[in-house]
Symmetry: C2
Subunit: 87 residues, 2 copies
Amino acid sequence: MSDQERTISQEELVVLQKKFSEIKHSINNALAVMMALSEMSQRRPDYSEKLASTVLTKAPQIVSSLQEFTQALNEKAGPKPEGIPTA
Amino acid sequence: MSDQERTISQEELVVLQKKFSEIKHSINNALAVMMALSEMSQRRPDYSEKLASTVLTKAPQIVSSLQEFTQALNEKAGPKPEGIPTA
């Protein structure tokens, strides 16, 4: 069947929704830690090293989890058509 | 019609895919800036204030853009059913 005819079911969409919700929670938690350390480092410079090392650990995890969701979405939607601007 | 019968078309899914791709690019860019500043602040402590203020500016923007995508997804899937664990 052609791409135009493909649909995804409500159930599949709920699976994507749940997956995104989990990813969002874990990203929000990581960002909350970074923000707390940023505020602390503004008052106590000895927190700066902790802030830098936390960002360098957690930011790549955020990139990975976004990429993981892209893959889940692509499995349902098919690879993103070329020619669609992404930025 | 019942929730079980609802489907979304390939076209709608491609719209979600494109939207997520845009959000992911902008988040990845923000994280790349934070990581670069973290590396710099590990070598030059005078970058620590810039790192902290950048995290405090960009992290809430990331939270907002994830929330924006949640809303786009919920518009297609309906509100997330209660009782589904999210973390």
